[in-house]
Symmetry: C2
Subunit: 268 residues, 2 copies
Amino acid sequence: GGDRSIKRVKRVLTYGDRAKLCSHSVAKFLFTTMEDKQTNLALSADVTTGAELLRLADAVGPHICILKTHIDIISDFKPDLVHDLSHLAEKHGFLIFEDRKFADIGNTVKHQYSSGVYRISDWSHIINAHALPGPGIVQGLKEVGLVKDRACLLIAEMSSKGNLATGDYAKATLKMAEEHDDFVIGFITQSKLSNDPNWVHITPGVKLTRGKDSLGQQYLTPREVICDKECDIIIVGRGITEAEDSVVAAKAFQEAGYNAYLERMQKT
Amino acid sequence: GGDRSIKRVKRVLTYGDRAKLCSHSVAKFLFTTMEDKQTNLALSADVTTGAELLRLADAVGPHICILKTHIDIISDFKPDLVHDLSHLAEKHGFLIFEDRKFADIGNTVKHQYSSGVYRISDWSHIINAHALPGPGIVQGLKEVGLVKDRACLLIAEMSSKGNLATGDYAKATLKMAEEHDDFVIGFITQSKLSNDPNWVHITPGVKLTRGKDSLGQQYLTPREVICDKECDIIIVGRGITEAEDSVVAAKAFQEAGYNAYLERMQKT
């Protein structure tokens, strides 16, 4: 039976294997970090002051591979903030992902990405965009981000109830990504879109138990995301930020996410 | 033949007629302004400094019903700017429409709309949102905007090449609007979605001649938008902002748009 069982082995690549395969430096750094820090946890740091954001980033930094920001909900934003945040990213070894969800035509997103008060392209390693406006949005963002060695995620599927990213939407998003794989490194999605190990699959809407909020958000567990849906990174927001102790909560999610990954590694 | 021709008359409502029918105060003000100022022109003021924005708004203000902003591309934004802009809106009688294209889950857009540096809900009469995330996005925005008597447009169709707002997307958007008609007053769209005279149909991507830009934007003419597609308002950006004389260009678009409206009124 030896031969037969060998034939059936379909080895699942580790994060470390995939770091070696990746061509984009941001994806390479990300997979390396995930392997080294033993974490597939992204923190959605939805706080509303600069001090809270820095405190959270410094406290939870050791447990995450990505810090996801909504810079436009910080009421006291000053350029110093992203400067300090970048230092924390270096100190703890995580990437900054501004969850801007760009959603306009190419000529507009170019300006939104590079200029204005936030100058997102100056400090955010990763940004995301809706595929909805068509390939021009990726072209526009790429004109800004490529020379700065930035990376983009396309939103292929959403976690909110009644969303319209259905039918062939994810397939069209994947195609758009494939045509811009020098800039797009993966997807915001609810399930794996492709077996190509270059793509990073990142899933928002994660809590330790299933459920929903009052505005249509629907939650999955780390095990569902990593084992069942075969995605790579869990994004956790209120499960950590609204916990009594955010570090304890982050550790719990780190462990749940990484154990789910190790379990998936056992599957052959 | 008299009876027969009377039977065939399907009177097109004037902007003034529709102002009377509307229940939302922002839509009522908008249609009244369009009738009084004889304009169906919205200016997309895509400039990158506060001074340019104010200069443009003051110069072109007499010729427009809506000033559309991308506040997040203004590099020297300060709260004074929206204060001054609001004064110009009162002086010239136009509405401010921050083209934020909200595109996240309800809980996030609530914060993006009300807080952060821009506090959009404090000064923007109209905002827009993608229908993509599902009804939660409208609920979230409404929790902020309704008490301030603000209005929302849903993006039903896009003007950019290869966009994914196809198939039943516009139909689903219309349904979402109908369920929130105390807050949603109409659509960003390329063609009329509904004969209900309450809905305002607003069309971006307008120039005096057809064409496209290098990032997939596709242009229609005022006559195509108002007469053929039966929309109500034309949004013009670079056709005015990049013209040698922005006032001359605005007047040309005002005239082209309003003449197209008068022509449509003749159709029975």
